[in-house]
């Protein structure tokens, strides 16, 4: 984790390993803890924590590896999740509630309900999803402190 406090913005960066279900959630937990220390409201923190955790789980489930970046300043919190996974062929379809490509073994672990991306969008004030098949996916979310 790198913490850069220059320019009043706080930057956090966590590498995420695909299929590492034991460590999954640690990055989001650290992001949540940092926001609590800074003193953001519980409602804002919960939105960021949910979006970060869903994005982190997506990398763990679908991406071979990736990184979860967070940029925090008093006005907004920006999350960027980048992975080198299989990519999303049809983003519109992936955004549909209940649509999931996660295999049965992932569902047995409690994920793959097809709610991740719609839920992230629901928490976000700004939401951008870019993906190239066989290259990877970049998700960018902004949550304003309001």
């Amino acid at each position: 984790m790198n913490e850069d406090k220059s320019n009043k913005d706080i930057k956090l960066e966590y590498p995420i390993k695909g299929m590492d279900f034991l460590a999954a959630g640690e990055a989001s937990s650290n992001i949540k803890h940092t926001l609590q220390l800074i003193g953001f409201s519980p409602a804002i923190i919960r939105k960021v924590a949910i979006a970060a955790y869903e994005a982190e789980m997506n990398i763990v489930i679908h991406g071979s590896q990736g990184v979860l970046k967070t940029l925090i300043n008093p006005a907004k919190i920006e999350l960027v999740a980048e992975d080198t996974g299989p990519g999303i062929p049809d983003i519109e379809l992936a955004m549909q509630e209940g649509y999931s490509t996660a295999p049965d073994n992932i569902r047995e672990m409690g994920f793959g309900a097809g709610m991740g991306l719609p839920n992230i969008k629901n928490c976000a004030d700004e939401f951008t999803l870019d993906s190239i098949v066989n290259k990877g996916t970049t998700l960018k979310v902004i949550i304003y402190n309001q």
Partner: protein
């Protein structure tokens, strides 16, 4: 109701969190798919689940869940207990089924967690 009353109602055993039995619980969410649970954002709710893995505790942490009850006698693992202790989330286990547990809590006046999506609010 508080967690102590809830423990009595579900005839539950406290695996961790004896010191937090005075926590007030007003809302409940239930399910085995954590991404279905993660759409609930009411803080201090109770989570009822039949899923037993570390991600249940992570989900509870992200949502500020007040306590987790495992149904049908399922018990949290050592890893789950350790994480729950770190995060201060009480863990309970009941022999009752998910349906019966939900029914008893509903009957006792505990409310459904309001589901706030981009569309309408579902109560």
């Amino acid at each position: 109701m508080n967690l102590a009353e809830l423990t009595k109602l579900l005839e539950a055993k406290v695996c961790y969190g004896e010191h937090k039995l005075d926590s007030q619980i007003s809302f409940v969410c239930a399910g085995d798919l954590m991404s279905d649970i993660l759409v609930f954002s009411q803080p201090h709710a109770l989570l009822l689940t039949g899923l037993v893995n570390v991600q249940v505790i992570r989900t509870a942490e992200m949502l500020d869940i007040a306590a987790v009850v495992f149904i049908k006698g399922k018990k949290p693992t050592e890893e789950m207990l350790n994480l729950a202790k770190t995060k201060g989330i009480p863990l309970l286990t009941t022999q009752k089924t998910l349906y019966l547990s939900c029914g008893l809590l509903y009957e006792a006046g505990l409310k459904n967690v309001t589901l706030s999506t981009g569309k309408a609010e579902i109560r």
